[in-house]
């Protein structure tokens, strides 16, 4: 099996080393294409990294009117090809994981390409190289999964849409798929404590700093 990414949210310590390191991959030119969010800082210190899940049938590519988003032989979904990208942002709006961003300066959609220039040379992507805890790991399924006590899941259900991904989530459950309802809440897995408050300002601050759809 070829190498891929394994995301284990349990291990994430919210340090954002991945976010800083993503900028260092030469072709990223200082832009980071990975997100780390507080789940709900008022309740917990838990955080979660989001990289491109590299869908087997990528929604971003399906909605692209210019066929600008290509999938490599290894199944890596690439950033939009610059000569083709029409600035339409269909992909930005369509991705169920909210991954692609639109770079207004370069007139180009950019997203995680698993550090294609590094992985093509046998190097790990930057985020998986630096992640202190293994919340983001890169390697072969048969090398990584036997070491872990969590279950690899790569099927996500968003309402009526079922998405199979190249990247695995490592989950402490028996579930075979991750189900997310229309509001983006994990079905049956998360109940918000009734605090009567809205989300913490620190969540909002982080979202403003790295979760906007544009650079």
């Amino acid at each position: 099996m070829e190498e891929t990414m394994f995301i284990d949210p349990q291990r994430c310590i919210g340090c954002r080393a991945c976010v800083a390191a993503c900028r260092e991959c030469a072709t990223h030119k200082g832009y980071s294409m990975i997100f780390v969010d507080y789940i709900d800082r008022a309740e917990t210190t838990a955080t979660m990294p989001t990289v491109c899940m590299h869908c087997k049938e990528p929604t971003c590519a399906l909605v692209c009117p210019a066929d600008a988003i290509k999938v490599s032989e290894e199944g890596v979904v690439m950033s939009a090809l610059k000569p083709r990208c029409l600035d339409c942002r269909n992909c930005v709006n369509a991705c169920p994981f909210g991954v692609p961003k639109y770079n207004t300066q370069m007139h180009l959609q950019m997203k995680c390409d698993m550090c294609y220039d590094r992985s093509a040379e046998g190097l790990k992507p930057m985020c998986a190289s630096v992640c202190p805890t293994g919340a983001i790991s890169f390697g072969k399924y048969e090398q990584i999964v036997p070491l872990r006590r969590t279950k690899p899941v790569n099927v996500h259900v968003f309402g009526n849409q079922k998405v199979e991904t190249k990247v695995y989530l490592m989950l402490p459950t028996d579930a075979d798929e991750v189900k997310v309802d229309g509001c983006g809440v994990f079905e049956g897995m998360l109940t918000r404590a009734d605090t009567g408050t809205s989300e913490s300002w620190i969540d909002t601050q982080v979202e403003q700093s790295d979760k906007s759809n544009e650079f």
Binding site: Q10, R11, I13, G14, C15, R16, A17, V19, A20, A21, R23, E24, A26, T27, K29, G30, R41, A42, E43, T44, T45, A46, T47, K124, M126, S129, V130, C131, P132, T133, G134, L147, R148, R149, A193, T195, T197, S200, W201, I202, V206, S209
Partner: protein, 742 residues
């Protein structure tokens, strides 16, 4: 007179400004001339990293997958560390303060002024009128030089280092219990431990790459017990969290020891064969049943029992701790009470059986080994021991009567400045206006000095008070060794030359000594020569480096001391067959619970504790200038439990005034369920009006002289809307006083 008069100008000239890209921008098609394997400048994991060099500039990093400790991993500070090297705030030439303004000077001018002032003060007020305050982010060679410089160069007894704010409680506890000051096990032992007990350490944020080993242990089926007043990212991941009141560790540890004895989980054979003073400790522990421990600490009794049984029943286990238990007036007691658990269960000196303190600074371990500590000589030798004094004087060629007596700790040094006993100060590698407790008093100390010279590569909040600022080198501009938290000595390599007229720190210090007429003791032409002398000076001491060479260190990815001879492989694991007291045994210490110096009362009903965030390093002099890091955590905040917020009618994000007996500051409220309702928390990395150290208690541990950063009494006051300070984007990363009031 060391006053700051034109703060706006100083900040405009020297920052902190935010900088967030390589010196010439981001380029995809760079030609890299040189890849320099080295280590991170920040914490004591000392992660390996490769610096990418192009045209004598550090332009990026590449993971160093082949270094066994981190295998490429880094935290966000490590990833962005290289951005400090060519930062526009770098000090490029010597500065002399004239009429309150820093003016460019030549090296000769600046150094001659320093020497003239030092000579004048020493002639009038005696040799001890100059203080030297050093740090542990320097290479070991430089820390060795600083101790020698103070004693043989200036002839003053007053030298100390910033590990006094960091490692000394652990060091004192280790020396008392084991007769040596070093973590007992290499980190490769961690995955072999069934149970880890981590006390007072948010290592997920402060020591991120250590988590590699913690999760390997988890993957092996291991469990974690976390003892911390906050549910930190570390505690969140643990199996059992004892959320104690700050400063009540002795009660918890004694309670656990009580349960271990009650449930026959102690190792009597180990106790008999390898320890002393068990009986008194056993008797004391009998007076701390879990319900008493629970009453004192606020941890439910059943959790204390559970923790003791989890640790006691495991075949292997390790205890680790950090500043959370050490930054107390009973810091040494806290350390010793946890060591009692290690010794009572005999979980030490074997694979997966061990103990270790989690060091803070990059060279926190090496910096406390070779003589920049007030009472210490190279090789962990003692200033008070005539044999030790004689040996070091022989190595230095210094007449014994010229070697001063032991000095005092840094907080006491600052008290002596206020008393007029110390009238001149040389500081390097620290930022007193952020990191010392009760900084309003520290400001008065600096303002009362006759002369203050600071060596640094950025204008720190402390340096602003200096009369002369000498531009030193960043970590990538020099070479030498550091010793990481597990006792592994590693090699830092040079990647680029210092910018402008900045010079390597050791050159500056030697030049002052030379101009003071003490050149014969300071003939080093390179850090390698310093290391060669250090090897001999440490020979036969506890921290014996004699058998190490730079080449050997690099070839082996680090060597663990003691390493007494060149054919010796180093000592990764200590205490396998003996401890370092003369009889080879370890010592129990019966520790009675004493509690923090200041406890909440009607006027100040809350416990204020301070700590760190993952995006900033220590006083922030390096990290508060890097855009990415500042963006993630622009300013300090106060963590408040929802119950307390409701009681005080505080909203999330509201700015409140936090007041203690010593000072006050304004911070935004972060309402979180992850803290105790009786405790509030503020991270400490900022200076001036943003400093939690305006509030903290400078009370000292009687043995280690560490200040009590982790517990003082405070209250929260609501601010009337019209009193709100003017805040804006420009405040990001800057101290409050750096923002012009509208």
């Amino acid at each position: 007179m060391s006053h700051v008069e034109h703060l706006d100008q100083i900040i405009a000239d020297y920052g902190p400004h935010l900088h967030d890209a390589p010196y010439d921008g981001w380029h995809a098609d760079r030609v890299i001339d040189n890849v320099v394997p080295t280590h991170c400048p920040y914490c004591a994991v000392q992660c390996g990293m490769n610096l990418l060099v192009s045209d004598n500039h550090v332009v990026g990093f590449e993971p160093r997958y082949d270094f066994p400790v981190n295998e490429g991993r880094l935290c966000p500070k490590g990833v962005t560390a290289y951005l400090q090297v060519h930062h526009p705030d770098r000090l490029l030439y010597p500065l002399i303060k004239r009429h309150g303004k820093f003016v460019r000077a030549s090296w000769d001018e600046a150094l001659d002024l320093v020497v003239a002032k030092f000579k004048e003060l020493q002639t009038t007020h005696g040799p001890d009128s100059i203080g030297v305050y050093s740090g542990s982010s320097l290479t070991t060679e430089k820390t060795y030089l600083m101790g020698k410089f103070a004693r043989a160069g200036l002839g003053t007894r007053y030298v100390d280092y910033n590990g006094r704010l960091c490692m000394v409680s652990a060091a004192a506890g280790n020396n008392k219990a084991f007769g040596i000051d070093r973590a007992a096990n290499p980190w490769s032992d961690i995955p072999l431990a069934e149970v880890l007990l981590i006390a007072g350490s948010n290592c997920a944020e402060t020591f991120p790459v250590l988590n590699k080993f913690l999760w390997q242990q988890r993957d092996n089926g291991g469990r974690w017990i976390i003892i911390d007043p906050r549910e930190t990212p570390t505690a969140r991941q643990g199996d059992l969290h004892l959320q104690l009141k700050p400063g009540t560790d002795v009660a918890v540890a004694n309670g656990m020891l009580h349960v271990l004895i009650r449930d026959h989980l102690i190792d009597q054979a180990f106790i008999d064969a390898r320890t002393n003073d068990w009986e008194a400790t056993r008797e004391l522990a009998m007076r701390y049943p879990p319900d008493i421990a629970a009453q004192i600490s606020g941890v439910p009794a059943e959790k204390i029992v559970q923790a003791a049984q989890m640790y006691g029943r495991a075949q292997t286990g390790m205890i680790m701790h950090a500043r959370g238990i050490e930054h107390h007036t009973n810091g040494v007691s806290n350390v010793l009470s946890y060591i009692n658990l290690v010794l009572a269960t005999g979980k030490i000196g074997g694979p997966g059986r061990g103990y270790g303190t989690i060091t803070g600074q990059g060279n926190g371990q090496g910096g406390r080994e070779h003589g920049q500590k007030a009472d210490q000589l190279p090789g962990q030798r003692s200033m008070m021991n005539p044999e030790h004094r004689k040996y070091v004087c022989e190595v230095w060629g210094l007449p014994e009567n010229e070697l001063p007596q032991a000095g005092v700790s840094v907080v006491e040094m600052f008290a002596k400045m206020r008393a007029g006993e110390i009238r001149g100060l040389l500081s390097i590698c620290n930022n007193v206006m952020v990191s010392l407790p009760d900084i309003n008093e520290i400001r008065r100390s600096l303002e009362g000095l006759d002369f203050y010279v600071c060596i640094d590569f950025f204008m720190s909040e402390g340096a602003r008070y200096a009369d002369v600022v000498l531009p030193g080198s960043a970590w990538s501009e020099d070479e030498g060794v550091t010793c990481n938290s597990e006792g592994r000595v590693v090699k830092i390599n040079k990647a680029n030359d210092p910018p402008g007229e900045a010079r390597q720190d050791w050159w500056i210090v030697q030049e002052i000594a030379r101009r003071m007429g003490r050149g014969k003791y300071f003939n080093f032409s390179s850090p390698r020569e310093m290391f060669e002398e250090l090897r001999v000076a440490s020979r036969g001491g506890n921290a014996d480096y004699y058998g190490m060479t730079w080449e050997k260190i690099e070839a082996n990815n680090g060597i663990f001391w003691p390493c007494p001879s060149e054919d010796h492989p180093g000592t990764p694991r200590l205490f396998e067959d003996r401890f370092y007291h003369p009889d080879g045994k370890a010592k129990f210490h019966p520790i009675e619970y004493a509690g923090p110096k200041e406890v909440p009362d009607e006027e100040f009903p809350l416990i204020l504790t301070s700590g760190r965030v993952v995006y900033q390093y220590l006083s922030g002099n390096q990290t508060r200038r890097i855009g990415f890091l500042v963006e993630q955590c622009p300013e300090p905040y106060v963590e408040v439990h929802p119950d307390l917020a409701r009681q005080l009618n505080l909203a999330d994000g509201e700015r409140v005034r936090v007041v203690s007996r010593r000072g006050e500051g304004v911070f935004p409220v972060l309402v979180v369920r992850t803290i105790r309702p009786d405790t509030i928390f503020i991270p400490y990395h900022w200076g001036e009006q943003l400093a939690v150290n305006q509030l903290t208690n400078p009370a000292l541990d009687p043995v280690s002289k560490i200040p009590e950063y982790k517990a003082c009494a405070a209250r929260i006051e609501k601010i009337h809307a019209r009193q709100l300070p003017i805040l804006g984007k420009q405040r990001k990363g800057a101290s409050a006083s750096e923002v012009k009031r509208g």
